[in-house]
């Protein structure tokens, strides 16, 4: 009954956007739509988008997998610190990230160019275009993969590895033949999140001049106020997203990914001493943290203190709402979104793993569509339905939480699924045979075992929801400001950089504190 309710609410959330798009798109003339679609430029844009997605995903995997491994399985000094620091890029709005890249390595007047100027470097090679977009989105989204892989590493039963070691496999052989294959589903589900995130991101391609499909859709909305054509284009994008979902599904099946632990007792995994490699490892993590955290924070601090540095009067923006209220709103909305979406994700993950059939597979796959669709499209779909059929919650908190659910659900579905795949169903079966009913089995056996996945999922949603913009602007209760809307407001028209900096820093602070708390919980539990 409960499952049915959850499944139907989720299904509703997933169906609304496509239905809305079809309704809107069919209003436009077919000719006009076809002419836009077959323009060579459109095809070029689709190709651009795909090559961007491929580059970003590859970069993110290359950064994330070593990081996950280093922070869970080795004696890297200061593991907890690195773990928190390498999770934080998720909380950096892409707008800030893009600005940071330009300020650090832009062709002229950037930090790097000014340093190199004495050497006669007048202009650096351009960071605009494909390269810049891949760097920025790749480095800001790799935590999706890192956290899913980490959850998988934590949930993995070390006895397999121990067996391999005792049978004479070297450390390296063990990793590539035993550990890595077990990580594939986690890498795939993390990569899926990265790929879909990069498809729907608007801020980075817009700032770094890259013609992605989402940018074309935004231009259609913003320049011509054309809902029908934009909807038609968004529908095409949705097909692209479905293509990627199918691809990941095929890959996953080909990989035959049913890895189970043999016992429910969680033994801490063996810690691999790094030895001489410690310095290389430290260098690697420091480099990543420098690129993804230190540089953006540096730029933020520069914005914050620019007027002090240059002796200006400072352009401080007007605030009708006290800052603490904005901070609280952000925590409240993102926290509620994370809580609700995780609760909804658990049954979907369980259904798709334990009761695998066509329906549950489709349900699980479809939960990703919202995440790969530009936020403005989802927001407008919810405006359309909410204002007509759910007036009692329209532009109220439940509406916003529902939007977060539609947008971010798969982040938790993926991580929980990854953890669940490692749990041997025979554990649950034996609980049943020992007289536990389904609910008891779930609570006493399944839930504790998938805890790492649940925690990672909730954390991912919390961090991403905190920087969500289009849906928050349109669907939040009137006058409800969050740190993300504050940053947008300050940078969009007002050019109030100090205000933007203040809000960005607060987002980072909240994120690090919450990441820290959650990770401590995790430690206590294990």
């Amino acid at each position: 009954m409960f499952l049915l309710l959850i499944a139907s609410i989720t299904a509703l959330g997933m169906i609304l956007p496509p239905v809305y798009l079809v309704l809107r798109a069919t209003q436009s003339g077919v000719d006009e739509f076809l002419s836009i679609l077959t323009r060579s430029r459109t095809l070029e844009t689709i190709f651009n988008t795909l090559s961007m997605v491929a580059g970003i995903t590859l970069l993110a995997v290359l950064v994330a997998v070593p990081l996950a491994f280093l922070t869970t399985r080795t004696d890297l000094p200061g593991k907890r610190f690195w773990l928190v620091a390498t999770t934080l890029p998720l909380a950096i709005p892409t707008y800030v990230g893009s600005f940071a890249l330009l300020a650090f390595a832009g062709p002229r007047g950037s930090v790097l160019q000014i340093i190199l100027e004495p050497l006669g470097v007048d202009r650096l090679p351009s960071v605009y275009g494909w390269f810049g977009v891949v760097i920025v989105i790749g480095l800001l989204t790799y935590p999706y993969i890192m956290l899913t892989v980490r959850a998988a590493l934590l949930g993995m039963n070390p006895s397999l590895e121990e067996a391999a070691r005792s049978l004479g496999y070297s450390q390296r052989q063990t990793f590539f033949r035993i550990t890595f294959p077990q990580l594939k589903p986690a890498i795939a589900s993390g990569s899926l999140l990265v790929a879909l995130y990069s498809i729907q991101d608007f801020g980075t391609p817009a700032m770094l001049r890259f013609d992605s499909f989402t940018r074309v859709i935004f231009t259609q909305y913003r320049a011509a106020f054309d809902r029908t054509l934009a909807a038609a284009l968004a529908l095409v994008l949705m097909l692209l997203v479905m293509g990627i979902l199918l691809l990941e599904f095929k890959l996953r099946r080909a990989g035959a990914t049913y890895y189970t632990t043999s016992s429910g007792a969680m033994k801490p995994p063996t810690i691999i001493p790094l030895g001489r490699w410690k310095w290389v490892a430290l260098l690697f993590v420091s480099l990543i943290v420098f690129l993804t955290l230190v540089i953006p924070v540096g730029v933020i601090l520069f914005w914050l203190f620019r007027s002090t540095l240059f002796g200006g009067v400072g352009y401080t923006s007007f605030q009708a709402v006290p800052l603490w209220e904005i901070v609280w709103n952000s925590i409240y909305a993102a926290g509620l979104g994370a809580l609700v979406a995780t609760i909804f994700a658990i049954p979907i993950a369980i259904l798709s793993v334990r009761f695998r059939n066509r329906f549950t597979t489709i349900l699980e796959r479809c939960s990703y569509i919202g995440f790969g669709t530009p936020g403005i499209v989802i927001a407008l779909a919810l405006v359309f339905f909410g204002s007509s059929y759910a007036q009692f919650i329209y532009q109220e908190m439940p509406m916003l939480v529902f939007a977060y659910l539609v947008l971010f659900l798969p982040q938790a579905v993926g991580t929980i699924r990854g953890s669940l795949l490692q749990v041997n169903p025979s554990l649950e079966e034996s609980a049943h045979s020992l007289g536990r009913n389904s609910w008891q089995t779930f609570r006493e056996i399944t839930l504790p075992l998938v805890r790492p996945g649940i925690i990672s999922g909730a954390m991912l949603i919390f961090l991403t929801a905190m920087k969500e913009l289009p849906a928050t602007l349109i669907l939040a209760p009137i006058g409800f400001k969050t740190l993300a809307t504050q940053i947008w407001q300050a940078t969009a028209e007002d050019a109030a950089f100090a205000t933007a900096a203040e809000a960005s820093l607060l987002i980072l602070m909240i994120s690090s504190v919450s990441t820290w708390i959650i990770l401590s919980q995790e430690k206590k539990a294990s």
Partner: protein, 336 residues
């Protein structure tokens, strides 16, 4: 085990709280004017507060992107909670007019602003004006290098030196102006020539001005009021304004308002508009947002040219068909 109950309990309470919170009736209290504003709170917030005090009713504002809020109003249809739309671009106002979502503003209020800056059918009116300027980096551009007209920018001298923001509404309004003044043929030619001259693409006015300040690009086509924000932080910010005169690059766009057909109480909305075109409010705009007041006899914002001196071209700012034409022209020319 116990912790799980606690977590479950908290979740339950939170969910119930959300649901209860949602049961508030959507209809705002009688006495509230609901505005959807594409203008930042930073710019109009203080004025709204003052207006609430002076006019004696509550004002609630949803801030957002001009185009996205206009689209939201269209999607909401007759259920829209909005009474008034304050957009920073005449095109958005024109789009709402064409959807039939606006009501006529009384002529005694309309007539306070120059006829160039309001809809001929009284469906929207401008509150402030913003001019297009050429912003340039004073360390990298000599004054005698500056273009006399926007047509010069296609020459070899300016190759790779000009920044623009083709996806931005204010740039597109400028292209629309050019089409109306010079015709589609010539505009397309200009766009193609510019595009072949290696222009640097930025996402909006702010990023363009920022890049000019860093020296990444020498000059750019932007709106008139962004520079002053940078100057407030850094008085030595090395950017200045240059005006081409009498051509499309000197067009004046507006930020303006429409009263929506879903307004509960149009008289409140009209009262508010009347307040915005009062001498006090117009002075506020000139001083705080550095935009041009639109009622006659007012001083231009400090350090800026008079509107008449700029000699902007005369065009119908809200003509939506023109906007769609502009978009396809930009696409044909390969700019978008």
């Amino acid at each position: 085990m116990q912790r799980q109950y606690v977590i479950a309990g908290i979740s339950g309470v939170a969910l119930v709280g959300v649901m209860l919170g949602g049961c508030n009736p959507l209809q705002p209290e009688e006495d509230t004017l609901t505005i959807y504003s594409g203008r930042g709170e930073d710019l109009i917030g203080p004025l709204i507060q003052q207006a609430e005090e002076d006019l004696g009713f509550n004002i609630e504002v949803r801030y957002g992107d001009t185009a996205e809020l206009a689209t939201t109003i269209m999607e909401e249809g007759e259920n829209s909670p909005a009474d008034l739309f304050f957009g920073q671009d005449a095109g958005a106002l024109g789009a709402l007019k064409q959807e039939g979502r606006t009501v006529t503003i009384p002529s005694e209020i309309l007539n306070k602003v120059d006829s160039r800056f309001r809809d001929e059918d009284g469906q929207w009116m401008g509150i402030t004006g913003r001019s297009r300027v050429v912003a340039y980096n004073e360390n990298q551009v000599d004054e005698d290098e500056l273009p006399d007209s926007v047509w010069d920018l296609t020459s070899e001298e300016y190759r790779g030196r000009v920044g623009w923001a083709p996806t931005n509404g204010s740039f597109q309004a400028f292209v629309t102006a050019m089409r109306l003044v010079e015709g589609d043929e010539r505009t397309k030619q200009w766009l193609e020539d510019m595009n072949a001259n290696d222009p640097q693409v930025y996402s909006n006015n702010t990023t363009t001005v920022e890049a000019i300040g860093r020296g990444e690009v020498d000059m750019g086509l932007v709106n008139n009021y962004y520079l002053f924000r940078f100057l407030a932080d850094d008085p030595d910010f090395p950017v200045q304004h240059h005006y081409t005169r009498g051509d499309a690059a000197s067009m004046v766009n507006i930020a303006g308002v429409s009263v929506l057909d879903t307004a509960d109480d149009t008289s409140q909305a009209f009262e508010f508009i009347n307040y915005l075109v009062s001498e006090e409010s117009q002075t506020f705009f000139a001083a705080e947002t550095k935009e041009y007041p639109l009622i006659p006899g007012m001083e231009p914002p400090a350090d800026q040219l008079e509107l008449d001196e700029i000699d902007p071209p005369e065009i119908d700012l809200g003509n939506l068909e023109d906007l769609e034409g502009t978009l396809s022209l930009l696409q044909e020319a390969g700019v978008l």
